[in-house]
Structure formats: structure tokens, C-alpha cells
């Protein structure tokens, strides 16, 4: 049952991360393989403030801001210029991979190779539905619930959210309707980047100890969760994250925690083979 609790925590963090990741893919057409490195860089910025005495929960704000700004800048100065040149889509994927390596090892060069951890009280233990969850874990779950609700509200009820979905579904028609899709795309990078920064920071808090390369394999979890729910489907992403989170942690209890990403990867391969559009996705998605 404790692995179920771990799984729930992993799923919560993964849900926030995957929603941002899939949003980037759906609206801006970039499969941003540098997502993991932006996550861990955000975590280190938050950690820096925490190390200098700021309350860990307040440092989340800095993680969020860094994630948003870096992602926006990546789009503006790296991905968009490459997309404009009308190269094969794979080019942008390879560029993103390069950015990921630079982001991760650049960070390592700055902060060094050692493990660090947030100083944050984990609070008292709560016994809920057969699981033992710390106060810290409950806060993370609450953040996740709030953020996912906000994303739902954004996509479903706001003008911006509808413009984002329209841009994702049919960019030319969105423009013919007067939607400034370039602006929508920039805003999407800000929002999804904020989710990325938030996910990175709570990922680091939840893991306990982390280092510059800690999120290097996280992209496998993201891809697995995204494909499980259907690429570009935010609600699918939530479902995918829950499944992958639970599957990896429960299997970790039985096999070995080292194989978490392998389990995720096996799920991903299975999805690509049997349901490439995900459980909720349809061929129309892209």
C-alpha cells in the first residue's frame, strides 16, 4: 500500500508536467524534449532561494517564473526560428534534444555534481485510505488538484483557452477567424512553461534528494503518459500520468526502483504499437 502512496505522488507531479508538455505539443507543434532540463533548472533556482532561507513553498514561485520565462525564450529564440525555415519536423526535435543536454550539463557545470535537498518540513503523517501521507505530500496533492482544475477552467471556459484549442485543431482557420495565433502560441509557452517549472520544483521536493541530472530520464515518463492519454489531449495527459505514476511505483516495489523508466518505456512502446493515438486520442488529433 505504501507503493500506492508513492505512485500517487509520482502521478501528481507527472500530471502537472505532462499537461504542460502535451499543451506545448498540441498548440505549438513542438515536441519539446528539453522539458526535463527546464524542470530541473527551475528546481535549482527554487532551491537556491530555499538555501538562502526562503520558505520552500514560497520558492515555488521562482521555479514557476523560471520555467515560464525559459520556455517562452526557447520558443522565441530557438524553436520558432528553426520552424520558420520549414525544415523537416524532426529537425526541431533534434534541436530540442541538444537544448536538453546543454541545459542539464550546463546546470551541472554551475552547481556541481552533488546531491542537494530542499529544507522543508514534511509535517506530521496522515493515515488516509490505507496510505501514509506526510503533510508535505498532502500539500503537493492539493497543489496538483488546484492546478489541474485551473487548466481545465482555462481550456474550457476562457477566451484564451478556446483560442488555444482552436489554434491546435486548425491554425489556419483560427487565423481566418481573427485569432492572432502567434500570440496564442507565445502565451501557451508561458503557461506550459510555468507548469513545467512548477512540476520540476515539486518533483525535486517530492524526490527528497536531487542533482542536476535527476530529471534526465523524466522525458520517458512524460512521453509514456502523453501517448497513453493521446498526444495533445490535456485530459488524457492527466489519466496517462495517473496510470504511469502508479505503474512505475508499484512495479518499483516488486522489481527495482532502477527500472521505473524502463517500465514507463515498455508502456510507451505498447501504446505506440497498439494505440498510437492514445486511449482518448483520435486520428484527427494531429
Amino acid at each position: 500500500m505504501s507503493s500506492f502512496g508513492f505512485g500517487l505522488m509520482t502521478a501528481a507531479v507527472l500530471a502537472i508536467a505532462t499537461v504542460g508538455f502535451t499543451m506545448q505539443f498540441a498548440v505549438t507543434n513542438v515536441l519539446n524534449l528539453a522539458y526535463g532540463s527546464v524542470m530541473i533548472n527551475s528546481a535549482f533556482v527554487a532551491y537556491y532561494f530555499n538555501k538562502h532561507g526562503m520558505n520552500a513553498w514560497i520558492t515555488l514561485i521562482f521555479g514557476v517564473i523560471l520555467g515560464a520565462v525559459v520556455s517562452w525564450a526557447l520558443n522565441k529564440f530557438v524553436f520558432t526560428p528553426f520552424q520558420r525555415r520549414n525544415l523537416a519536423p524532426i529537425t526541431v526535435v533534434i534541436v530540442a534534444l541538444g537544448v536538453d543536454l546543454i541545459g542539464t550539463f550546463g546546470l551541472q557545470a554551475i552547481v556541481g555534481g552533488g546531491y542537494v535537498s530542499f529544507s522543508v518540513s514534511s509535517g506530521r503523517e496522515f493515515h488516509i485510505l490505507g496510505m501514509f501521507l506526510s503533510g508535505m505530500q498532502l500539500i503537493i496533492l492539493a497543489i496538483c488538484a488546484v492546478v489541474l482544475t485551473l487548466v481545465h477552467w482555462l481550456l474550457k471556459y476562457t477566451r484564451l483557452g478556446k483560442a488555444m484549442r482552436a489554434t491546435s485543431a486548425n491554425p489556419n482557420l483560427a487565423r481566418n477567424s481573427g485569432v492572432k495565433t502567434q500570440r496564442v502560441i507565445s502565451t501557451t509557452w508561458l503557461i506550459s512553461g510555468a507548469l513545467c517549472g512548477l512540476a520540476g520544483t515539486i518533483f525535486a521536493m517530492n524526490t527528497g534528494v536531487f542533482e542536476a541530472t535527476s530529471a534526465q530520464l523524466y522525458i520517458v515518463m512524460l512521453l509514456a503518459a502523453m501517448f497513453l492519454g493521446g498526444p495533445g489531449e490535456p485530459y488524457g495527459a492527466m489519466f496517462g500520468a495517473l496510470t504511469i505514476g502508479l505503474a512505475t511505483e508499484i512495479s518499483a516495489a516488486y522489481i527495482s526502483p532502477q527500472y521505473k523508466e524502463v517500465v514507463a518505456f515498455v508502456v510507451l512502446l505498447g501504446m505506440l504499437t497498439f494505440r498510437p493515438y492514445g486511449i482518448f486520442g483520435s486520428e484527427k488529433t494531429n
Binding site: 477566451r159 478556446k162 483560442a163 484549442r165 482552436a166 491546435s168 485543431a169 486548425n170 489556419n172 482557420l173 483560427a174 487565423r175 481566418n176 477567424s177 481573427g178 485569432v179 492572432k180 495565433t181 483520435s282 484527427k284 488529433t285
Partner: protein
């Protein structure tokens, strides 16, 4: 009608227009003028550049030479979102709705440029025009039938009460009766209402019936143009579009 669906038109002019993809001209040296109160139709065989011509007018395909103007204003190579602000409503031949969005959301995006508080009343006006859409407001556009989908596509552009309607084969895949109704009631109706209508239509006969002027496109050029009653007398036109072997009804 309590609320005007479309507005009195503006003149849409293409002068010596060349346009195409990757710098290669598909449409070459085309002159077309669509005026308020009139339906101007463009007919021609598959691949003759009809869609490319319309796309270049609304900013989706780059203009390589010549000009596009609304009234006296040069709008050559304006971005599509800019063209939309000038009262031009464009319904593409394919990909004419947002499939994952509901009917209501499609209409809302159609009214994206409207002041927020006008959107609901505009939707009401459009629904009065296409009552069948009323029952399917919460259905995803991707799940509509061909005819319902075309109504939604038209409804989307009507949200902004356009003064110029640019329609690319609005009757494709529609049952003959629905197609006739769409052309003779709705589309002709917009023009009679004072709007400018530029229409691409595969069914030459049906196009002539509602048009004031018709251009025949072949190989990206205007090969023939005239009033319907004159074209009906033109042996070449009759041979290739109204009766002959390769003709489409």
C-alpha cells in the same frame, strides 16, 4: 431578421494576381472583381487553381505578383487574422471547422473579434438562420454530418457579420436538395442583402443560376468570363461544363 447577418458589401478586387506555393505560381495573372449585391462565381476543373486563388485573397497563400484590394485599400499579403478584421469571411473547401471543439465553441471562435458581450446575441442570430444547429450546440464539430458541418462552417463566418463572403465549394458533399437550398436561398440571399459574394462552385449549372458574373479558371488562368446568360451561349463553355464528356453537373 432582427439582427443583420451580413453587411452591405465592399468591392473585392484581384488585379493581375499570381499566387502559389513555395514561390511557384499556380494562379497566374488573374483579374476578378466582386461587387456588393452580386454573386461572382469561379468554376473550373479540379486542380485549376480555384482554391489557391481564394486562399491568396484571404492571406493563406502568398501573393507573388499583382494586388488584392478591398475597396480602395490594398490588402495584398495581409495576414489572415488581419483580413478577418476587414469584414471578409472565408469558408475553406476542407478543414472548415474545428473538429474537437463543440458547435458552440466553433461559433464563439467565429466571433472572436466581437466585443465579449455581443457574442451570445450573435450566436442567437446565427442559430435563427441555421436552426438545425440549435440542437447540437454541445456536440463536437468533428461528429457532425457533412451538411451540418457546412452550416456550422458558414455560421462561423457569419458571426462577424461579414461584408464580403469568400466561399470555397460550400456545397461539396451535400445532398442535391440541400446544396440547392444553400446556394439559392442562403448564398444568393446574402448578395440580395447587399453583401459581396465570391463563390467557387463545381456544379457549373447551379453556379450560373445564382451568379451575376462567372469566371472560368483553367490551368491557373481565367480562360473565360462573363454574365451567365452569355456563357450559356458560348459553345466552348457549354461543351466543357454544361453538357460535354468531361463535364460535371
Amino acid at each position: 431578421m432582427s439582427v443583420e447577418l451580413s453587411q452591405a458589401g465592399q468591392v473585392l478586387t484581384a488585379t493581375n494576381l499570381s499566387a502559389g506555393y513555395d514561390g511557384r505560381a499556380i494562379v497566374q495573372g488573374v483579374n476578378v472583381e466582386a461587387t456588393p449585391g452580386n454573386v461572382v462565381s469561379i468554376v473550373g476543373p479540379n486542380g485549376s487553381g480555384k482554391s489557391t486563388l481564394l486562399k491568396s485573397l484571404v492571406g493563406v497563400v502568398p501573393v507573388l505578383d499583382g494586388t488584392v484590394a478591398i475597396g480602395t485599400r490594398d490588402i495584398t499579403n495581409f495576414a489572415p487574422e488581419k483580413v478577418a478584421t476587414l469584414g471578409v469571411g472565408y469558408v475553406p473547401q476542407i478543414d472548415d471547422v474545428f473538429p474537437p471543439l463543440t458547435v458552440k465553441e466553433n461559433l464563439e471562435i467565429g466571433g472572436f473579434l466581437l466585443p465579449r458581450h455581443d457574442v451570445a446575441s450573435r450566436i442567437e442570430a446565427v442559430l435563427e438562420f441555421f436552426p438545425r444547429l440549435k440542437e447540437m450546440m454541445t456536440r463536437k464539430a468533428g461528429k457532425l454530418s457533412g451538411g451540418e458541418r457546412k452550416m456550422l462552417a458558414m455560421g462561423r463566418v457569419l458571426m462577424l457579420a461579414p461584408s464580403v463572403l469568400v466561399l470555397d465549394e460550400p456545397t461539396a458533399n451535400l445532398a442535391p436538395m440541400v446544396a440547392t437550398q444553400l446556394l439559392e436561398e442562403y448564398i444568393r440571399g446574402f448578395a440580395d442583402h447587399g453583401s459581396t459574394v465570391l463563390l467557387v462552385e463545381q456544379r457549373a449549372k447551379a453556379a450560373l443560376r445564382i451568379s451575376d458574373w462567372t469566371c472560368v479558371l483553367g490551368g491557373g488562368r481565367v480562360v473565360l468570363a462573363g454574365a451567365p446568360k452569355d456563357l450559356e451561349q458560348d459553345p466552348v463553355f457549354v461543351e466543357s461544363f454544361l453538357g460535354g464528356g468531361a463535364a460535371r453537373r
